[in-house]
């Protein structure tokens, strides 16, 4: 990686974070003069949790996307395309609407269990080093199943407002979360990212094949288990608080590898920064778009990410056909 790229990324992520706190500034400036405690409360209780969630969730998606892509040796693997986020959403919905637990810890536990189940199912269906088609089909099947079960759980929920209630959350949203809720997502995400960073070396060795990685002394089964658990843990906690947000986990690692000389393991750190940056930027778009209403952030990432995904598929197909 170029010496300047990493500090520049950190600077960009910090700037986006500060910008997320400051924009729009006029209401804060006006309040600061009239009612200083209220202005600080607005910053502390409304904008800080939102910026924190965008940074942590985006970074978690970026880091886990990079790790999953390295693990499956496939640039199209990501938490959303492998069904991990859908599994987490299902886990949280079942916990909240069927079991009736709505405390953040219960929701997070349910989501982590759902994400873990989805990843284990993916490994069982597609195998540890799947072809792109097999991986995407298995991910699609798991997403479809989790989506149908989520709808079923909402239909069977005792509350008649379950669908309406869950809609905004399912679309992915960072709005109106408390600082406590933000901590419930950000703390597991940060821990998972730090632990994933430690696996960068073994993940790079894995590019030489499982046998060679083993001859270096890396326990490949433990590596796989570690990445699956850390991804489920971090992504699950974020989904529990903010719902499912797509495409960041796919896009961030691809940009990150431009900075890591193509090394998939070394891309975990820049992917986390780029993921945080992208979600902060998407949230700024959501908040400042002159539409007179707030868009769900998951819609914005999907609108920007889906064309990129299509381009990637076309690009791969063109390259393979050559």
């Amino acid at each position: 990686m170029s010496r300047l790229a990493f500090p520049a990324l950190i600077l960009a992520a910090v700037s986006a974070f500060v910008l997320s706190l400051a924009v729009p500034w006029p209401p804060v400036a006006a309040l600061l003069e009239e009612d200083r405690p209220l202005a600080l409360a607005l910053l502390w209780e409304l904008r800080l949790p939102r910026a924190l969630l965008a940074l942590a969730y985006g970074a978690m998606l970026g880091a886990s996307g990079a790790a999953i892509q390295a693990l499956f040796a496939n640039p199209l693997a990501s938490p959303d395309l492998t069904g991990t986020t859908s599994g987490a959403a299902l886990g949280a919905v079942v916990t909240a609407y069927l079991l009736g637990f709505s405390a953040p810890l219960a929701l997070a536990s349910g989501a982590v269990a759902g994400a873990l189940a989805a990843l284990v199912l993916l490994l069982a269906l597609a195998g540890p080093r799947a072809e792109t088609a097999t991986l995407l089909l298995a991910g699609l099947a798991i997403s479809a199943l989790a989506g149908a079960l989520t709808t079923l759980a909402l239909a069977l929920a005792p509350s008649p407002f379950a669908f309406y209630d869950a809609y905004e959350w399912l679309m992915g949203s960072l709005a109106d979360r408390s600082l406590e809720q933000a901590a419930f997502a950000a703390a597991p995400a940060l821990l998972a990212i730090l632990l994933l960073l430690r696996l960068a070396g073994p993940l790079d060795s894995l590019t030489l094949g499982e046998e060679v990685a083993q001859s270096f002394g890396h326990d490949v089964r433990r590596l796989r288990f570690g990445i699956v658990c850390l991804t489920a843990f971090g992504v699950g906690a974020c989904v529990a608080i903010c719902g499912a947000i797509g495409f960041i986990g796919l896009v961030a690692p691809i940009f990150a590898r431009r900075l890591s000389g193509g090394h998939p393991g070394r891309a975990v750190a820049p992917a986390a920064l780029i993921g945080g940056l992208l979600l902060l930027a998407a949230d700024l778009v959501v908040r400042t778009a002159p539409l007179g209403r707030t868009l769900p952030i998951g819609v914005v990432t999907a609108l920007l990410g889906a064309p990129f995904f299509l381009w990637l598929v076309a690009h791969m197909r063109w390259r393979l056909a050559r």
Binding site: A73, S205, L206, T207, G209, S215, G217, G261
Partner: protein
Amino acid sequence: MTPRLEARAVSLPGRLRPTDFRLAAPALVCLVGPNGSGKTSLLHALARIDDPAGEVRIDGLRPEDLAPAARKRLLAYLPASREAAWPLAAGDLVRLGLPPGADDDEAEAAMAALDLAPFARRRVDRLSTGERSRVLIARALAPRPRLLLLDEPVANLDPLWQLRLMETLRAAVDQLGQGVVVAMHDLDLAARYADRLVLIDGGAIVAEGEPQAMLASPSLEAVFGIERVAGIWRPLNRPEDRRSSP
């Protein structure tokens, strides 16, 4: 003197029976045997792949006791597969064989030895299979480990490169003092360069010895079902041979 390699009762369930294997001093040893006989499994057991039973010591050190960085200087393993799981640049792939912080000259020397300097920045998935083979071999050679374990390194190489690689491995033993264990199918090439041939069949070592003696040994003929007549290998007891004989 501590032997370069001392393997005791190494085994892999269903693939390799408990086997002892020893290199007293640096040497080039070729493993020969039919497809599925257990050559790769013995290399796996020596490289500590797939949790083999038994114990391996290289210069008295157990690979399991070393961290990955130190282990890269102790042994290097080249798998038979020439697939590249990830489209890295050739130079970056070779550097992955070295411990972190190693000098760039080491990677460059290994690449130069295999005429790979022009490919350093090329992605390995865009090289020919033979070129990619050389990149993968350079990765194994780069850290100059005390023990090289190579699975069919000459496969996919053209005749000149087969010879150049065997010369390189010979030099690794004679000049650098490395131990080299190679699984290969070309019996004549193996016999020409090796200090010792080891014949493997049914997941066990069935015979070993000095190369020319091994080529003439009945056990080799029996295991492969071939015989050497006037310097040319031909199948032994083929039905059509029997029909044509008087």
